[in-house]
Assembly symmetry: C2
Homo-oligomer: 257 residues x 2
């Protein structure tokens, strides 16, 4: 029998506003799409709608750039108010070059512009910041879905990032609830009894990437994707995307070029 | 209507041997799994079975390490014969640390150990090398499938790699035929008419990641995955995974730490 995973992009989620009950919107959309939410489903939710529901939007005009922000703005050619926002959302400034600022953000994710983004945000000069604590955002969604449907689902909050060494962006997991980030093959045997040494699959990143295939990015407006057929994956409480974050010291690719 | 993508892992593909007609094995397995191969399907094929069919296996005992290999072996604690293999499969040696060698391999992919791997290869000290030209391997498979089924499919050869900044591995595309590597949103408008600046989705990497969710890695032995429901994706001839490879100069994450 063929092993099947289904990726279902929910159509018809309305524009999300500050204070919206995102879980309810998802459950309504699932009903309208004739998709039953079941135990073991994995919900991948685009960061942008979580940020909107949590009112993590900022009007650039209200931001006063610091001296450091002005300096970096000069170097990068970016708006100094936007640079100031990036710095406020960062733990550690890492690198600036033409149009690009790389930081370790407040959530300890190494990314460009601290994940601050303009796309699909209404209003001139209005930008979305990442959720303050994306794991907590995911947990709240999971708990609320459990309350409303009595179903245990995994929740992944996803965002799109550039990678080292490879062109283009892919979706990563930036917040988790109820689903373990990895499948660990280390110590298990392969087809011929050889013990696998290093294999630790970052399945939540793979699930986030999966979801983007139906989310799209522009006008498609499919911010929530339900993935079915993976109930062999580890579901547990007290997970965190921070397990995916490595330190400078651990990074095998540090200074390769 | 819900937007659906299906990921189908073909069960029952036999152990692949040198010289096997992989396309025929895939078509037979699809039949046994009651999966119809259709125009616009995307086949993700694990590198390991392509390497086996192309006889890219090497017996380590037969390898004579060079002086450089011996030096790196001493530094990394790795077998000098394996190090020699890695060097032979590389264009540029980048970095060695405990148990790890990072190179730009002959295909210009920055990876660990030039993609050389022991898992699921039969025989003590027998290792699989990556296909010499994975795009060509993908093209041959695509052409053969077209010949046998009259269907136009996209083919992605995938392999598992570690990433900078994040723990664990994900599947990437290392060879392409008939499918464009990116969906380019640059210059398109978002929900509110804002013109998207940087978004270039590396969908073939996302498809490879998707596929791994059913492939697994150990004894599961599902080396071929068919993805259905993405016929809006760009299909064309003369594609290459090399479009995914960036130069040292282009790498936004160079020297961030």
């Amino acid at each position: 029998m063929v092993k099947t995973v289904s990726i279902l992009g929910l159509e018809g989620i309305p524009m999300v506003k500050a204070g919206d009950d995102l879980a309810s919107l998802i459950i309504s959309a699932a009903k309208e799409n004739n998709v039953e939410i079941e135990d073991g489903d994995i919900l991948v939710i685009a960061q942008k709608v979580v940020s909107k529901a949590e009112n993590r939007l900022v009007q650039l005009d209200d931001v006063k750039p610091s001296e450091q922000a002005n300096k970096i703005a000069l170097k990068t050619g970016k708006n100094s108010k936007l640079v100031e926002l990036v710095l406020r959302e960062s733990k550690r400034f890492l690198k600036a070059s033409r149009q690009i600022i790389v930081v370790k953000d407040l959530r300890e994710i190494v990314n460009i512009n601290a994940g601050i983004d303009k796309s699909n945000v209404k209003g001139k000069n209005r930008y979305a910041l990442l959720p303050v604590n994306p794991d907590e955002s995911a947990r709240i969604l999971r708990t609320r879905i459990k309350k409303l449907t009595a179903k245990d689902v995994g929740v992944i909050i996803s965002d799109t990032y550039s990678r080292a060494f490879r062109r283009g962006q892919v979706n990563f997991a930036i917040g988790l609830a109820g689903i373990t980030p990895f499948v660990d093959y280390r110590g298990t045997e392969d087809l011929f009894g050889y013990v696998i040494q290093v294999k630790l699959s970052a399945i939540v990143d793979e699930l986030a990437s999966c979801a983007e295939l139906v989310m799209g990015q522009g006008k498609e407006a499919i911010p929530v994707v339900i993935i079915k057929g993976l109930n062999w994956i580890g579901f547990k409480e007290n997970v965190s995307f921070k397990d995916l974050v490595i330190s400078e010291k651990e990074d095998l690719f540090k200074n390769v070029w």
